[in-house]
């Protein structure tokens, strides 16, 4: 029934056609380049959409209108204008900085973000990097980002950036535990680390319903920790505009700064995307048992729309949090993690294991 959902036959057909026209290595190379370009373009387009969305959402929360002059009444071209501006802006090199690390840092951040990005299950068979330990890879790849932040803060030779970087290091490494544990909870529920299989497991019910209480708990923990991972308010201590002017990227200008800016928004999307994969059935349509007509109608909507739609919903939740809460203090952030979230997620993990063993999940 899901067959027309599946992109895999289409992709295989493209591959075999390519192979019939040229040697296999060339086909692979061309495909690799095409996929790479595709990821980059998607990445940029999504970033533009997300930034635009953030501006409009925050304007709505703040009784404002938001951009409405550049590109028609909706201000649709505002973000492209920003992009053009930032692309033509000077990149400053600092006198007493570590030039190599200073240049490397934004690329590390953006690379981590792109690697994670390419693991998202867009559709059935529509995953760019597919491996049987997919979710583990996501966790591993996303940790590279913190390295970039640390390097950025260290190499800029400025006290603000250093404080920002150290804060961010302490915070992200702590919150990775909670993320890991809540992801593990869902891995136990699904019995697999393969992202496509995790989604497939949710064919007859999303994990958040299947795993009920512990899954909901895990989702909340994931949302909080994910927010921290993405360096978003109320966990934006690494940037902390009001305290550290711009935190770890204070000294970056032009496109270097643009990379950090892009990565921030894409990390938001990735955090939401993983949440959707683990808890809301990925690209699976919404099915309600007993309502066959509705279910049929839902099946007609392609998986990619389901995935993107659900992800944007979670993104909206995260934005809502961001524009409502004041910022936490560094010790409070760490206390929240080590005293509350981590024990709680261990408990959730245990409960989930017990329930899975005794068949108490749906």
């Amino acid at each position: 029934m899901f067959d027309y959902y599946n992109l895999e036959p289409l992709l295989m057909w493209i591959h075999s056609t390519m192979c019939s026209l040229m040697p296999e290595w060339l086909a692979f190379t061309i495909e690799g380049i095409a996929v790479g370009v595709f990821i980059m373009v998607m990445y940029a387009v999504l970033a533009i959409i997300l930034i635009y969305m953030e501006r409009k959402v925050c304007a709505a929360f703040q009784c404002r209108i938001g951009p409405d002059r550049v590109g028609g009444r909706g201000g649709l071209l505002q973000v492209p204008a920003d992009v053009i501006k930032i692309l033509t802006k000077e990149i400053i090199s600092l006198k007493n900085s570590d030039k190599f690390l200073y240049g490397l840092a934004p690329f590390l951040v953006i690379m981590a973000s792109i690697l994670t990005f390419s693991c998202l299950p867009w559709n059935k068979g529509g995953e760019i990097l597919h491996m049987n330990i997919g979710i583990f890879f996501v966790l591993a790849a996303s940790s590279i980002g913190v390295l970039g932040i640390l390097l950025a803060g260290w190499s800029s030779n400025s006290k603000y950036t250093l404080i920002g970087a150290v804060r961010s290091g302490a915070m992200i490494i702590s919150y990775e535990l909670s993320i890991g544990l809540s992801v593990l909870t869902m891995v136990i529920l699904c019995g697999t680390m393969d992202i496509q299989e995790i989604v497939a497991y949710q064919e007859n019910g999303w994990n958040i319903f299947k795993g009920h209480v512990p899954a909901v708990m895990a989702f909340i923990i994931y949302l909080i920790a994910g927010n921290a991972e993405a360096n978003r308010a109320p966990f934006d201590l690494a940037e902390a505009e009001q305290e550290l002017t711009a935190g770890y990227h204070t000294e970056y200008s032009g496109m270097h700064f643009g990379f950090f800016y892009l990565a921030e928004y894409l990390n938001l999307f990735i955090t939401a995307g993983i949440a959707v994969t683990l808890f809301f059935g990925g690209w699976m349509p919404l099915h309600i048992a007993g309502l066959e007509g509705l279910n049929m109608a839902m099946d007609c909507i392609p998986g990619v729309i389901w995935f993107v739609g659900k992800t944007f919903f979670v993104v909206f939740l995260l934005m809502w949090i961001r524009w409502t809460f004041p910022r936490l203090r560094i010790d409070q952030v760490l206390i929240l993690e080590w005293k509350y979230l981590m024990p709680l997620s261990l408990l959730v993990l245990m409960v989930m294991t017990v329930m899975k063993v005794f068949g108490l999940v749906f």
């Binding site: 703040q62 009001q242 305290e243 010790d331």
Partner: protein, 532 residues
Amino acid sequence: MTMSADNIILIKPEELYDEASRLRYDAKEPMDYLRDIVGMDWGEEGLGALYYLESTSTGARRVLKVVAADRKNAFGCAEHSFLPSVCSLWKTARIKEREVFDFFGIRFTGNPDMRRLFLREDWKGYPLRKDYDMDSNPLNMDNETNADVTEEYTLRPDGTVEGRENVVFGKEDFVVNIGPQHPSTHGVLRMRTSIDGENIRRIDPILGYIHRGIEKMNESLTYPQTLALTDRLDYLSAHQNRHALCMCIEQAAGIGIPERAQYIRTIMDELQRIDSHLLFYSCLVMDMGGLTPFFYGFREREMILDIMEETTGGRLIQNYNVIGGVQADLHPDFRRKVKEFIKHLRSVIKDYHDIFTDNVIARRRLVGVGVLSREDAISLGATGGTGRASGWSNDVRKRHPYAMYGKVDFREITRTEGDSFARYMVRMDEIMESCHIIEQLIDNIPEGEFRVKTKAIIKLPEGNFSTSVESSRGEFGVMLESHGDKYPYRLHYRSTGLPLVDTMDTVCRGQKIADLIAIGGTLDFVIPDIDR
């Protein structure tokens, strides 16, 4: 409150400390609040200072006058004049004496920190001396270096003076420079902050980035002209500041102002206070990283600005009070709009509390953070909401009523905790109290003139005059010395913010960097008012 010259007690420099300490620890009427130290240059008579004291228990006020030395001798021997420091009696004296030193070159023996306060460390001369050459310090575009040591002078028993150096920041200190261009210092304050990890070890505020020399300029302006500069001191207390100066000149010149003007001034003062406190709310929330409530505060603030603009013509700086009354009569819509606004404010203030006050993060960031004890608040002269949050009832409107404040019924909001949250809540409650004051007055504004005619050139009789009002963020004082001319001989403003900035070091030690910003927000200072 005006004080005429006969309240001034003249004492000799060598007796200053004993006399001050006698007054400070007087059993019946301890003068525990040092309002201000005003440096003076009396020309031939010499350099010196006026000490304005007040007793927090009885409200009595005293002025001590000290002439440091015969001017010729002062310059003749060591080029410096010396006065004994009183900073062991009042903590606030420490920074106030630095100010006097900066402007007049009087050094205080026993003050551990005798650096320049407002001017560059390589500044030549002392600008508020009457013989200061205005062109002696051209614009210097070299980056300023800050010394890590301060000078201290001690008086030897044989009468000679010994100098030694105190270390502000040692080699082991990790000093972070917060400001002067920083989003959360509310202007161009600069705080050299020594930190240990995230914990603050010491703060050394560096001021003067917006020092405009208003007090020196006043000496060459006629009395009506001096009014214009008061609005630009603390632009969020523009009405109150100007009110204070007008009151001082009116009382010195014996001008009675019509009752209608008194009503208008009081209402305007309170509107200004609401305006300022709304901005306080907005800025505090923004400093703590919550951006949305910022817009709520500004939404209501715009409504006040509209009301003010209709009557006064200005949004931020109104130039409304004049000597003898107010500049223009109230706009016909004024009464209706004010009432509508108060009704509206009462209905939306709940949103403010919902989104911020009751927020768990906000509470944890504010409650118990940055505690200022009552003794410290008095000793540091931290007036206004900051002092009241520490349990010091210092509201000038209650203690020394002026305008209509003696006739209206209002509560002085005090709390005892002294932490950031108390400071925040005091101001939020004061918004409602100001609404209450306005409501009592708005329907009873008497008919009549809104100003009395005064001459363009006003000459005040000789003497010292001082008034104080409760501005949006503390006691704003005007200290005026007239020598009978059409220009003031010396016109000094008691800055509300200077003592507040001075409390930063006391309050912030041991707290986190993030708290520094939040505490700065709750102390609520405006830098142009500090630097003058």
